[in-house]
């Protein structure tokens, strides 16, 4: 137990090498420390909490899942962002659907963290919610990131929806819409 406490203390170290060593050591301990780490999510030290979230995301033990969901509502933006990323590591339909429930998010950075996860993990089941979000979000960043999500879901019926964004006011959105449409058309051609 003393060793674990030392590792937790080292997570908050200002020495980055000590911080990273402690982080890896706790990841290596895996499932055996999950309950301890979950308990420490209530700590006031933001650096410690954010680090624990990263570790739980590496371990991906189901016992930490709900606690990571709760971290999406943590008072500190960094913890929310890390929680979204950690949940993405579970790479499950459950984690994807939970993350989508937090869109739109009042904190743009958290919204972007969620979308980053969805770019890698979203599947066709979440298409309606993603389209709805695309059509309603006022954020340029969220718009082009959602287009990337849709491109990776890869449904050819999306082309007509995406064409509306070829003359978007934002050049990143226009560019990503073009890339997405080309990708979907390539996929259609390769199937034929």
């Amino acid at each position: 137990m003393e060793d674990l406490e030392r590792l937790l203390t080292d997570l908050s170290s200002r020495d980055i090498s000590i911080h990273l060593s402690a982080r890896q050591a706790l990841i290596d301990l895996g499932d055996s420390v999950v309950d301890l780490l979950v308990d420490r999510l209530a700590d006031e030290d933001i650096k410690l909490v954010a680090s624990i979230v990263v570790i739980l995301g590496e371990i991906t033990n189901p016992r930490s899942f709900q606690s990571l969901i709760n971290c999406l509502e943590h008072p500190h933006t960094l913890v929310q962002m890390q929680a979204a990323t950690a949940l993405g590591r579970f790479a499950s339909k459950d984690s994807v659907s939970k993350l989508i429930d937090y869109l739109p998010h009042s904190a743009g950075l958290v919204e972007q963290s969620i979308l980053n996860v969805l770019i890698k993990n979203a599947t066709v089941e979440v298409l309606p919610q993603m389209l709805d979000f695309l059509h309603t979000t006022p954020s340029n960043v969220a718009r082009y990131m959602t287009i990337r999500v849709l491109a990776n879901i890869g449904n050819k019926d999306l082309i007509s929806d995406l064409e509306k964004y070829l003359d978007d006011e934002n050049h990143h959105v226009r560019n990503d819409a073009r890339i997405a449409i080309d990708k979907l058309r390539d996929e259609i051609e390769s199937e034929e």
Binding site: I16, H19, L20, L78, Q112, N116
Partner: protein, 135 residues
Amino acid sequence: MNSELSFLYIDDTESSRKVMRLMLTDMLGYEDLVLLEDSSDLINRLDQLEKQFRIVFLDINVEPLNGYDVCKLLRQHDNYSSARIIALTASTRPSDLEKMRDVGFDGAISKPLDLETFPNQLQSILIGDVLWDAI
């Protein structure tokens, strides 16, 4: 580890600057961080700060001087000629990486910052490793 390290980050995207502050300051405890939103009148602005930045992170698409030109400018200045200058870029084209090396960058990191790998990248930067395979 030197807790008085000075960092400079130049990026015209507000969310990118916020993420850098969250990671460097809130997460990793480095409080001496200066954020600039553009590269206009850069040397005069930096001289007024009277700091010797140890690490400079630079968005390659910053304006009015782009990241390549800013790097060249910094390398000509006594205060920054030996700083570690790292490009932030979404480009992985070999020609772009070659150009970054040629103008004096010490490495490149992908944009957006990866919250999980950035501490490892920073550690590499601080111990003097190159980061050309990090993107």
